[in-house]
């Protein structure tokens, strides 16, 4: 599934042993994917390979993180892997939806790749339909986290210190029986499947998600990536001396491919 980039000079396949794999779920508002774009763009990560898979709709374009004419001509496809060895970080970006009935095989292949490449843990960025929140979830933070038992031991305490809120379970049969609780992540794409599979296979996985709706999801992406940063500290959040608050939003670099998200310019003849 994973094909390393040929960087020339006979370089061996990249080693991800002990790395944190950061990846998005294709979910409501594409928030996870937008947040991943911000991480790759800001940390100027190097592409180290891609996934050769028949599970995602094919697409191709030129480099979405181009900053100048020279680096704008590298082809980019639907599932690519970037790495930053200095932070022991490997990032998977998924750029197209799943083909019907193919999301399960993709999850299985992905998790077996995670195990074979010996990644220490997986962090999945996702989102869930805001309109499905219950009365309590409507108040307070729209951000939630989940940890597999394998990772709970290592970082569960840290989440409590950060005052993070764990994703609540909902009644399996609401109105009939409130005691059976299940995990329900509407609009979360493969989030629930990946999480439950990781729980049963002993993989260290954390899910970070935001409740949101379809629309302009750029602000949601910033909120989610700042949430991630509270834990992983990927960039320094500088404290602004003028109003004594830290606003790391300005330190995330928006990639050049985020232009024209809502259509072209208007024809002058319209006016």
């Amino acid at each position: 599934m994973f094909i390393p980039c040929d960087r020339g000079g006979g370089s061996a396949a990249p080693d991800f042993k002990g790395f944190t794999l950061l990846m998005p779920a294709v979910s409501v508002g594409n928030v996870g994917q937008l947040a991943i774009d911000l991480v790759i763009s800001t940390l100027d990560m190097t592409k180290v390979g891609y996934f050769y898979t028949d599970c995602l709709v094919p697409m191709v374009g030129n480099n979405p993180y181009a900053t100048a004419a020279e680096n704008s001509v590298e082809l980019s496809i639907n599932a690519e892997v970037y790495s930053l060895p200095s932070k022991k970080l490997v990032v998977l970006q998924i750029r197209s939806p799943f083909i019907k009935n193919k999301y399960r095989p993709f999850c299985e292949t992905l998790l077996s790749w995670v195990k074979s490449s010996k990644c220490a843990r997986v962090v999945l960025l996702s989102s869930s339909h805001a309109y499905q929140r219950d009365d309590e979830q409507l108040l307070g933070t729209p951000l939630r986290y989940l940890l597999t038992p394998a990772l709970e031991k290592a970082v569960g305490g840290h989440m409590k210190e950060l005052n993070w809120k764990e994703m609540e379970k909902v009644a399996a049969y609401p109105g009939i029986n409130d005691t059976d609780k299940v995990l329900h992540i509407p609009g979360g794409g493969i989030t629930k499947l990946l999480f439950t599979e990781s729980c049963s296979e002993g993989i260290q996985m954390a899910v970070l998600l935001k409740f949101c709706s379809e629309g302009d999801n750029i602000p949601d992406a910033f909120v989610l990536v700042n949430y991630l940063n509270e834990w992983l500290q990927l960039i320094k959040s500088e404290v602004s001396t003028s109003n004594n608050s830290s606003d790391p939003s300005s330190q995330w670099k928006i990639p050049s491919s985020w232009r024209l998200l809502f259509g072209n310019g208007l024809p002058p003849a319209l006016f």
């Binding site: 294709v26 094919p58 697409m59 374009g61 979405p64 704008s72 019907k100 794409g189 629930k192 232009r259």
Partner: protein, 216 residues
Amino acid sequence: MATFFGEVVVAPSRAGLDEEEEAREETPEDREIRREIEKKRFQQRGEIREREIQVLWSCAEESLVCSRFIVAIGRNAAAFLSSFILDSVCWEVIGVVKLWNEWCRTSSSTNVLPTDSFCLFYRLISDPTVLLCQCSCYVAEDQQFQWLEKVFGSIQKKGLQVTILSTCPVADYKTQESTLTLVSPFLKALKTKEFQEQVCCPLLEQPNIVRDLPAA
């Protein structure tokens, strides 16, 4: 999402995942029903399973040696080849793709009309390593990978150069100005880093992308 009349509808999500597909766990009853439907479709379609693609070659060789492969995808690109490149003197038909999906069905016949949906392979008689494909039918997203593997699996790649010709509506082109003021038609290209020759037109800028079979 509540509409003007007050009823709640589920808005389609850009994320693209079919919710029902994810939530439904298949019971043994569901599995049995699905099996019966598959069997019925199998019988109706005859020799091939519904979504399977068949690549039929008329030449005897097991794999074709190919140095240049030109693929025209879509009716416009296929018509371009018919009008300017193909003729019965220099090119011979050597293969056909047989497939079915909700949008079209192709047959194994090589005698096609321009208005038919077809996918044919031609070989240059004077240089048999030059192959050409005219694919005017729509290849569904779950068949694209299959098409790729079956077609390229039959080709022996010797310093292979692949050229893909395709068209997109101007209205889909993302640009700062309005597309109404753009001079069209215009050409844009994408190339791999292994392609060292001069490209005859500007490269496709972000945020524009290519989808479906040309992307595959």
